[in-house]
Symmetry: C2
Subunit: 397 residues, 2 copies
Amino acid sequence: MLSISKRGLDMPASPIRKLVPFAEAAKKKGVHVYHLNIGQPDIETPKACLDAVRNAHFNVLEYSHSAGNESYRKKLTEYYAKNNIQVSPNEIIVTTGGSEAILFGFMACLDAGDEVIIPEPFYANYNGFAIQSDVKVVPIGSKIKTGFSLPPIEDFEKAITAKTKAIVVCNPNNPTGYLYSATEMETLMQIVIKHNLFLFADEAYREFCYEGKHTSAMHLKGAEQHVVLMDTISKRYSACGGRIGAFVTKNKQVLDTAMKFAQARLSPPYYAQVLGEAAVDLPDDYFDVTKKEYKLRRDTIVKRLNNIPGVFCPNPGGAFYAMARLPIDDSDKFCQWLLESFSHNGATIMLAPATGFYSTKGLGINEVRLAYVLNAEAINQAMDCLEAALKVYPGRC
Amino acid sequence: MLSISKRGLDMPASPIRKLVPFAEAAKKKGVHVYHLNIGQPDIETPKACLDAVRNAHFNVLEYSHSAGNESYRKKLTEYYAKNNIQVSPNEIIVTTGGSEAILFGFMACLDAGDEVIIPEPFYANYNGFAIQSDVKVVPIGSKIKTGFSLPPIEDFEKAITAKTKAIVVCNPNNPTGYLYSATEMETLMQIVIKHNLFLFADEAYREFCYEGKHTSAMHLKGAEQHVVLMDTISKRYSACGGRIGAFVTKNKQVLDTAMKFAQARLSPPYYAQVLGEAAVDLPDDYFDVTKKEYKLRRDTIVKRLNNIPGVFCPNPGGAFYAMARLPIDDSDKFCQWLLESFSHNGATIMLAPATGFYSTKGLGINEVRLAYVLNAEAINQAMDCLEAALKVYPGRC
């Protein structure tokens, strides 16, 4: 009998997508499902971006440069400059989504058995990339009661061993929506400099900050050689299907090494580079409209959640996620029950159990992540469902 | 000082692209460079495919399913059926190029330290994917004097150890152009069944066979659970920049495992799936025209090469590559010299030194790979250059 690999066995199934069959069954029964489970925005992709692809003229769909089209990398430097990040086209590798940027970072900087510290809860797919690169994720806890702020410096110090090579910070955070302050980012800088670590910064949601300003890891003066920015256009321009991201660093050795991984896979996708290039020329108020919409949704969902007896939801400062503590026994069971056994006015909701975002077993059992990727009216209806569900859920505590 | 990973150090730079700076310098001097070094076809991408992308209408560029759009996977089953390969949409994962299909295969089936046997010379990026998955490539030699036919079964038997988990076959072959016969494919089948190995089949050049018929690994009756097909639309439809491939297997456990890796990276690129879907409906004679063109080029280049004193080039049965033995000391030096120090009528040629395609040190030192991706006229001019160069190259043997 042929056997698959151990790492294949260890690889986690997507915690977000594992409920999909239950959602499909609910829909077949005629139940409407409000999808708050996945970070697929409903915001339209800017027409100028879609048109740029439609109007691109070439006769051969060629490989682009392994680092991405030069014209796009040049354009990206304008985008970064607007965000007070000064980089040259040669400090950017265009990647296949933010996913590939994360994988390149793990592969280029970490060896088998090395450790990477990540405040938990964290983006579940970091686990998948860690298994692919045989790296050990060492979680340190951020807490719902503080809104998932940066864990205290002592927690980092305690977690650091001789094998620790990097810290991952996702800012604003997925899944918590927490926006790290300038002070917190400086704390991270001190830690990575003191202990000689890489700082991998996932800033997929940079534009979506509702209070306060975004501090990029690339703003940290003195940490330039430590920082690798892992970026993507997916959420920024509602262009998830394009699969275009970026690996950005001022550390030349890291960049040159990541470039070898980029060469092995030949090139990033061509079409969405055209889309991304056009996006940089969107009017300066483009994000204002989008942010206003997301802020309305956030205010709506957070208010509704905190008005449900037994529910607590800290106000997330960024991204389009909220984490809520519910009066339930088991978030996996609850989310499945919502799809399998519950409906309210012909509808139910799909949420992401928070267990999938924690690396420490047992954590997140009474928490869920809600992606506010539906409009305020739909969010209100979804919250009606949740409120009704919590009244009758058999596993209520 | 922060250090990169050991695997990052071990990762090979692209043997094909490392000469690029020399080519750029030659062009700056006003020398025309005939590019026979890289598998970027000059054949136009079918207009119907490009138009399908232009005419695709949607308002949000969403993630596709992690396995690829269902409509595309359904369409792909029609394509495979035309090639006498019966698969269902659930036996296909759409990948980001053939590259990702190879990586998924290594990751899902092999663990760190496992061995994969590959007849050499082989596609250089297999080395890169092996390093990423910490797998050891065990080369066995195919020889230019037999046109790079399958090494004898005894060579496989000798190379197999307790750690051997798979054999990779690229058919038709890159870099040799060799087309494996039905008998050779059956030999491989016997080996993988006897020794309980996976057979990873890279069939990127399936359509480009000039004599004889293509035998897919998926045709091997009795080996269904062993075979993983690693496919791509890049060469088939001259759509390299799309980055769309496929991972196809009837082994459900392997497919389910690869699917977890697919979920971690969320989805393959959307646009080129639309292109690939349209491609399946191209008229049946589409490949006839393309094949006729490539055959003319092959006949031209092989004849010219064998007419140069001291040069030997076996006639490749497929793909669009030819390997030639040259009367030179060192193919790396020679290829660099061509760009740095030589021109003929204001032009020179860029070739791929064969050393990068061999895993065994010292092999390929007097061989080069030529990709016949230019038209016959340009090929003749390029061969004029090569002929003139070999007369004056200081390292001629």
